[in-house]
Amino acid sequence: MGGAVQFRAIARLAALEAIRRPVFLLVSLSVLVGIVALPLLLNYTLGDSARMVRDSALALYFAGGLLLAAHAAGEALARELRRGTAAAVLAKPVSRATFFLAKTAGVAGALFLYSLAAWAAALLAARAGADDLRLDWAAEGPALLAVTLAPAVAGAWNHRTGRPFASAAFFLLLAFLLAALAVAAFFPTPLERLAFPANFAWPLLGVGLLLYFALGMAVALAAALATRLPVTPVLLLCAGLFLFGLMADYFLGPHLADSCAARAAYALLPNVQAFWLLDALDGGAHVPADYLAAAAAYAAAWAAAALALGCASFRRLEIAG
């Protein structure tokens, strides 16, 4: 019970600290503006506009999320160890496992909020750009308004109260994008080709959720690495491992039958292909629930293994900061 209180306190603070870092807002804002601007940027797509907007939006979300996952998890541990706040907390009756796992959970929580904002932006962009020749301004208008108003309102609030700009802007972005989604749902789309309920491509959320599972794995890996390495190597290693995981089928697939090393590497690498199911959305199909469950179980098992290694490493870590 008491451990849960400590876990919540550390996780909540880790999430807030992650969101308050300017780099978190910078990456989130770039991704969200990029997603919302996609329907304006894509022209002459030969009838592929809807698919291109959807694929690009989710690719932007995943790339930004990967950067945030590695950076925020690395900062949450490596920076706190360097700055001394970790020593101050661990001088209290807090076990190292609680500290490590709560920090990781906090970063995963911050990434979930980022994911909510990105999914809302992706739904709005997919609706606005569903037609090659006409924009659905009922979706594009509120989305553009959300991503421009949020930093402006946060700036005014910061000027007035002195409270942190980065977190205010991020939370306003999330709130305004969800509000934009609700506003857009009230307006019928002028585009005849759209047929999904309330004019939104809801199946997109299934793939978004799959990608969030992959980001969860990245958070666990980054946290485990950050027990021993500074932020920059953590970022590079995470990016490298996930990139290699994305291409594992291509590189390792042909050797799986006759090479133990290839099989071991294939099993250890994060299989990002399993989470990149954008083609499954073609024709309005859904990601099946049992596939989602299997992917979640794979991600949880992989993340648990990374966290177990991280915990073991953190228990033996001497905290000199």
């Binding site: 209180v5 700055r83 020593a87 101050a88 661990l90 001088a91 209290k92 009756p93 000199a320």
Partner: protein, 304 residues
């Protein structure tokens, strides 16, 4: 029966190693000392003498290379024992975006204090450290001295049995320094054990019953201040200055005749600290402050 020591170190050693596990720095070289329960104990030494390393081993943050260390009858890495320890680090390690009240609430959760108790103690501590008026400002905006006060408040939140203060008066103004010294003495009067390190030897002399002096990882001297500092072969006599100078001459002549040596004659000086505190306290009665205000007496929960 005598209480067991709050901290017992026996042949304690710490060697830092490099990436290849080769010995790099021998920070602590076989020191043994005991911090008696209910006393103020000073760990002194120049920079790099091994004080902070010793403190981090006591807190279970660093692991001894060899030797034995008991803290409140338990191993330093035991999580449960840390609920009885308060620690003020050398630097004020705080989350810059949190306000003082949020910072203390966070640490109260780590100590698993019931919500009502935590709320009550946070209020009392903010009053005590003189930062109640700045409770909603992010601590990242604070001066070093103000941040130090927050650090001190978080170290006392759990009403600890053992208080470890690493350079507690660093960055504090004379009022804050006096308050910390009064606080240390009040804690000791309540039977708490205080272990402190400081470069300010006058402060140490004011509060410590015992000291240990470290240099280059070795313990050079240890004992009570009286045993270490008293000059048993000399005696100081203080009396009111006589109105008639002839009286003083008679006294000196008698002393010279009896002792066979000329006694030193001087007027005792008031210490600068009480004089400064009096001047500032008088000035502070007029006008509001933007920084730390003169602090209130000890928090009620620390007086019980």
């Amino acid at each position: 029966m005598e209480n067991p020591p709050a901290i017992q170190a026996t042949d304690l050693r710490k060697t830092f190693r490099d990436f290849w596990r080769r010995p790099r720095v021998e920070a602590v070289r076989g020191i043994s000392f005991a911090v008696p329960a209910g006393q103020v104990f000073g760990l002194l030494g120049p920079n790099g003498s091994g004080k902070s390393t010793t403190i981090k081993m006591i807190l279970g943050l660093l692991f001894p290379t060899a030797g034995r260390l008991d803290v409140l009858g338990d191993a330093p890495r035991a999580v449960a024992v840390k609920s009885r320890i308060g620690y003020l680090p050398e630097e004020s390690y705080l989350y810059p975006h949190l306000t003082p009240a949020e910072t203390l609430a966070f640490y109260a959760r780590l100590f698993r204090l019931p919500r009502a108790v935590a709320r009550d103690r946070i209020e009392q501590l903010l009053e005590m450290i003189g930062l109640a008026h700045a409770r909603n400002r992010p601590v990242g905006e604070f001066s070093k001295g103000m941040a130090r006060r927050i650090g001190l408040a978080q170290a006392l939140l759990n009403d600890p049995d053992l208080v470890i203060l690493d350079e507690p008066t660093a960055g504090l103004d004379p009022q804050g320094t006096r308050q910390v010294k009064d606080l240390i003495l009040a804690l000791a009067a309540r039977g708490k054990t205080v272990l402190l390190t400081s470069h300010l030897l006058a402060d140490v002399e004011d509060v410590c019953a015992q000291v240990a002096i470290l240099f280059n990882g070795r313990l050079l001297a240890q004992g009570t201040l009286d045993a270490l500092l008293a000059q048993k072969d000399k005696t100081t006599l203080t009396f009111p200055t006589p109105a008639d100078p002839a009286t003083l001459r008679q006294v000196l002549a008698a002393a010279r005749a009896a002792l066979g040596a000329d006694p030193d004659v001087d007027h005792p000086r008031q210490a600068l600290e009480p004089f400064f505190l009096h001047v500032v306290a008088t000035a502070a009665r007029d006008g509001a402050a933007s920084g730390a205000v003169p602090a209130a007496p000890l928090a009620p929960f620390l007086q019980k």
